[in-house]
Amino acid sequence: MISLISAEVLKIRTTRLPGVTIVVVLAIAAALPMLYAAASGTGDLEPLNSASLTDMLAAPSRLAGGGVLLIGLLLAAGEFRHRTVFTTRLAEPRPLRVLAAKLAAMTLTGLTAGMALDLVTAGVGSAVIAHNGVAVEPLAHGFPRVALLVPLVLAAHGVIGVAVGALLRSTTAAIGVVLMWAFVVEGVVPMVFRAPEMATWLPRGAIHDLLSAQPATQVSLGTAGALIVGYAAALVAAAALLDYRREV
């Protein structure tokens, strides 16, 4: 199994898009604290304070999650687009082992990207806050919790990406479905039903609750975490079932 996971990690490392995606995300994450500091105190934004470090850490997580999700989608659905699924299945004919290896590889990728994001954002954010004469308090304002959860949330994005890609087997369809989910289901449906609290029970709402400087308002952190794990598990189960039943 370790060799299969290693092969999946090598697939990620030997194409350009995953690396470019991570570098772009980290570059934006490095720039965001500076923009945050420049904008703070204007409009509705609070002046820069010690709690701002937690917000700076959480701010790029949605973008990073999207990036890791995309890598996961491409790792799974890209096999069918480029027909590499044939060589993959010849090397390992049992589809569930291949799916498990992809999930493990994307979990590792998500954790690594999350830790890199933590380091970049915390480093730049601390420097920006200190430069503005505000005390840096990395052990307060929920910072340790968010720093711990960012890698886990990105790993979940990777898992969901693989599951959706394996389910749909088409990069175009997978990206389309994810965008439709993000903008239509999560964005519009709660408004249509005039039930904004519904958003809390959807993946993006649960992630928002997990990564907020102030702990969750509608549901507990445990419930928000369980929601994300539940969505990921349901998608993985569906992907595994279909992967097992369908031919290449």
Partner: protein, 248 residues
């Protein structure tokens, strides 16, 4: 290694792609697999390699189905399509990914790249390869595990005359080393110079399976192409071919 196909059958809706196909392929011999487009050659090879599930029957390598093989790539080398590589990956990395999954060292990747004459192009992206180069890369992937059996679907497609000549030598050498070689091709004149035994199928059913020398002997000097056209145009599916000279 003995390859056995026993009562293999596959239907796609109302169409019978392969019907009750039984074959036995011996080690140290090259068996040519010929049939018109849609005759069931690729479906048969995919069932043999576990890429397509048969509706009935089974295909085994020394008594084990492909999915049951402990080290598939070290047992069977297969080439199902030249376009099974990510265009953004270099040729060497494309093979490294496959090798990694099967715990084959990178030194073997370099060895097969040299064997197929792609050392100079190993660091180029596959997207820039010609059809013939992709064909050679696919052959290299089939030979990665130094397998006892080799299954090649249309390996001469896209090769220039030098490439076809080289392929002929490679296939003969593989058989001389005691490997079982099963190769499909539309290039009948070329195939005739390479194979020991010939299998002809039409409409998914076996028409003939016998040594080339015996077949051509009964055809009284006819070419494989002439015999093939004769068999597939006049033989009712399932009936024995009889004496070819006596046929109209």
């Amino acid at each position: 290694m003995h390859i056995e196909l026993q009562g293999l059958a596959k239907r796609y809706g109302p169409i019978s792609a392969v019907e009750d196909l039984t074959l036995s392929l011996a080690p140290g011999r090259v068996t040519g697999f010929v049939g018109a487009n849609g005759a069931g050659k690729s479906t048969t090879m995919r069932m043999l390699l576990g890429l397509t599930r048969p509706d009935a029957g089974n295909a085994t390598f020394d008594g084990k189905t492909y999915a049951e093989l402990r080290d598939p790539l070290r047992t069977v080398g297969a080439m199902v399509d030249p376009n099974v590589f990510h265009p953004g990956r270099t040729g060497r990395n494309a093979l490294r990914v496959i090798a990694r999954a099967a715990q084959i060292p990178d030194s073997q990747v370099d060895h097969v790249l040299a064997l197929v004459g792609l050392v100079g192009a190993a660091q180029r992206r596959v997207g820039g390869y010609s059809m013939g180069m992709r064909q050679r890369l696919a052959l290299a992937s089939a030979l990665l595990g130094d397998p006892g059996a080799v299954v090649l679907d249309e390996p001469a497609n896209g090769l220039d005359p030098q490439g076809v000549h080289w392929l002929r030598g490679l296939i003969r050498e593989l058989a001389a080393q005691g490997r079982t070689v099963f190769v499909s091709s539309h290039l009948l004149a070329e195939l005739a110079q390479t194979i020991d035994d010939v299998v002809v199928i039409a409409q998914g059913r076996l028409i003939i399976h016998e040594p080339m020398a015996a077949l051509l002997g009964r055809a009284h000097g006819g070419s494989l192409e002439a015999v093939f056209l004769h068999l597939t145009s006049t033989t009712p599916v399932g009936s024995p071919p009889g004496n070819l000279k006596d046929r109209p």
